[in-house]
Amino acid sequence: MIDLSKLTIKGARESLRKKEFTSRELTQASLSLIEEKDGNIHAFLEVYDDVLSQADEADKKISAGVDLPLLGIPIALKDNMLFAEHKATAGSKILNGFTAPYDATAVEKLKAAGAVLIGRTNMDEFAMGSSTENSAYGPTKNPHDLTRVPGGTSGGSAAAVAANMALGALGSDTGGSIRQPAALCGIVGLKPTYGRVSRSGLIAFASSLDQIGPFAKTVTDAEIIYNTIRGLDPLDSTTVGEDTYPHKKEFEKIIGVPREFVEKEGIGEETKKNLEEAIEKFESLGYKVVDVKLPSVPYSLSAYYIIQPAEASSNLARFDGVKYGAHVDGENSIDDYFQTRGAGFGPEVRRRIILGTYVLSSGYYDAYYGMAVKAKEAITAELRQTFRSVDLILTPTTPSPAFKFGEKSSPLEMYLEDIFTVHANISGCPAISLPSGFSGKLPLGVELTADLGREDNLFKAGKEFLGE
């Protein structure tokens, strides 16, 4: 039997190339592990029924001497990405029964690279949350401690990779939804630069912030997936090319730490100690670590909780019980909308639609949305100017390790989970969460943020940090 816990994408590709095992054998090992563990973890909402035929296709190509970056590798998809002729629900009842009519661009690129798409993973409904507790299909559990959350919203993808049920996965990140679960599950999670990966076929949440990215066990593997899915796409006009962000600075191994911000935000002792250890490790690797002042960045979360519900309230207007998805019959045509949306959307989604409707409403628009957009500009400029003198900014990924189910009792407490991740979405900058040790049996993560278009810096420093 193949030991998936010791296998990376890079290693598995080598073994497949050398015919040490077949994609069918590798995929079967994944399926057995899902069978064995996922009853408890609940990372997957569905394992696709054509997985083994995908693996056989890959094996045919391998036999014919074809070499592709992900050929024969089992990869999981977050439930908000379209895979033609397969179900996708975004963790919501309102999309129960929906079958994707086409492939998301990122999915198409995975297929073209030979990946075996193994199944769709659990998530907070419409990617709203930080724990997967908001999924309409029940929560996912943290593989390191089943009484705790895996983080969210891409908690299913993170748990699937952390429990070795898939060698990699795609997630989406609007305020931290890849990096936070990666940290809580002890793996690598990357949010690329805004526009780096096409969102065509990603179920929209907050369109000025959403970005697709990879989960993997190593930075090298995350880079392999990233290189597969990135690129300009005529189907998503916000995608950026190689020349969109000319490099402003040579990589000089300089890391900035916004100590004032980090220390103000009430982080746990373990997390603080872990950050200091990460700083020492980077210093021992020849990095120069300096203090940076980021006075506007702490307001990213406030700006985020205006811009994001505002965009969600308009994006989710499309779910009307007429075009696709669930339908609940009302007394007349407009009552159909009320009944369908009333029954289809869960509590957090309703909360955000109402909040978004409020901040966009006449009389409040300038005080909330208008101010948030100005803050977004100031935060972006502040970060980009900082990146003229440092290559990377280092913070913890989350204020604490994985929390217990039901522990965050008010919405605001849950929202604060994004405090160290959300600046990257507000500014569009790429950021990566790296596993940085444990508090007891619970994983901790540190986050590196780089200037727009500088994923290369994240990969260089990330690989050195993890000794790859």
Partner: protein
């Protein structure tokens, strides 16, 4: 934000909502709006460097109208997902 205001917003958003949920939401919104209202403390303007146009990741993207695909190519795939249809039309209740 009081419960009546929440109900009005729910109506605007076409979401059926009961009085109990509206009450709960109105209690939570106080803390949330208080927190997000902090955003006005960001000093904007002078810190924004005007030296490069590409400083922001979001911008308007425009294009000319292009040639559409052949009519009817995707009709069946799309309509297959509709809760109710009649021929090649989406079916809804009578409006007038």
């Amino acid at each position: 934000m009081d419960a009546q205001k929440v109900l009005n917003l729910a109506k605007l958003a076409r979401i059926e909502m009961g009085a109990e949920e509206a009450e709960k939401l109105s209690n939570e919104f106080g803390a949330i709006l208080n927190y997000v209202g902090e955003v006005k403390k960001v000093e904007e303007g002078n810190k924004v460097d005007k030296f490069d146009k590409e400083v922001y990741a979001t911008r308007n993207v425009m294009r000319e109208d292009g040639e559409p695909h052949e009519s009817g190519l995707y009709t069946e795939q799309i309509l297959k997902q509709a809760p109710a249809r009649e021929g090649d039309y989406l079916k809804v209740k009578k409006i007038l």
